[in-house]
Symmetry: C2
Subunit: 188 residues, 2 copies
């Protein structure tokens, strides 16, 4: 279930438009003009929704994506089926979430430069949580705890790397292949 802060509907709609801008240009590469254009709102209107400005917009985008990740990618992990089936469901959602690797990962985006100063602990916390959740399922599948955490961490690492290589090489096949092999790699 999502931990999204309550927001007016119009604010939520604005956040959806801001996300792709931050995703593509990063925190510092994103300007209020871009955000204004993407959202269809004037700069002053953005400040109505986000009084603390750009940092708050980035934070809102981050939170939204985090909730979305939890609801779509992690949620299947806490289902009722066999661990393998749940992990396969996660991988399926993962492909969509990252658009086969074309979407930059917000965690990576927000771990650079000024964004790192602003959000380091938040990003670290999120990543650790997600690693733990995945590891928990592996433990449930009978894998020893340390091993489970290592494999979970390794998977996150590969996903991060795959997203970068997809962007550089303009080729989504290696992301697809990664995801295809992920269940076996995690469980066997």
């Amino acid at each position: 279930m999502s931990a999204e802060k309550e927001r007016s509907l119009s604010t939520q709609k604005a956040i959806l438009k801001l996300i792709p801008v931050f995703r593509k240009y990063g925190y510092e590469g994103t300007t209020l003009s871009m955000l204004s254009q993407a959202s269809g709102l004037g700069k002053a209107s953005l400040y109505h929704h986000f009084p603390q400005g750009k940092a708050q917009m980035a934070r809102a985008a981050f939170d939204y994506i985090g909730s979305s990740f939890e609801d779509t990618v992690l949620e299947p992990l806490s289902g009722k089926g066999e661990p393998r089936e749940r992990i396969e469901a996660m991988c399926c959602s993962l492909k969509e979430f990252y658009d086969n690797g074309r979407n930059a990962c917000f965690l990576a985006i927000m771990s650079f430069g000024e964004a790192d100063n602003l959000f380091h602990d938040l990003v670290k916390q999120k990543l650790k949580t997600w690693i733990d959740i995945l590891a928990q399922v592996l433990i449930e599948a009978g894998i020893e705890a340390n091993q489970a955490k290592d494999r979970s961490t390794e998977a996150m690492m590969q996903i991060q790397g795959a997203v970068i290589l997809v962007r550089i090489l303009d080729d989504t096949t290696l992301f697809k292949k990664l995801i295809e092999n992920l269940p076996a790699q995690l469980l066997d």
Copy 2:
């Protein structure tokens, strides 16, 4: 051997000072004021060395690091020993090059936002070349060509991911572990 463009000694010394700034803050997060301070040169002096401005500074940093990567990391691969020994030598250099994962990868840094617009083909070309060079050694070691390329690509992916996770989690152990296991993963 390096393909570095010839430059005056003072220009080369300046480039060395610029690199850490771009590495840490990315292309758009880096300002001329930062570069001026880091290099100890006034902004106008930077323009003497790099008439096309910030883009040229980033390009020079990119080229310098590329040459450095070739000279220190890839060079051992073309030595005379056994493939395994050469790959182990590469891994050793790799650890130093990335400072155990604390250094962001310039390829990743330059694949975002405006830098991507400026340098996309250049970055892509470099990465492809490096993947090919590593794959070539694997082929020499008796691995089938497609398999060799896949493993080489996978290694690059893991390195990229590891660098990101090190930065987010403030923990270099997973980078070290990755490098430790790399020779076996590539060859066995």
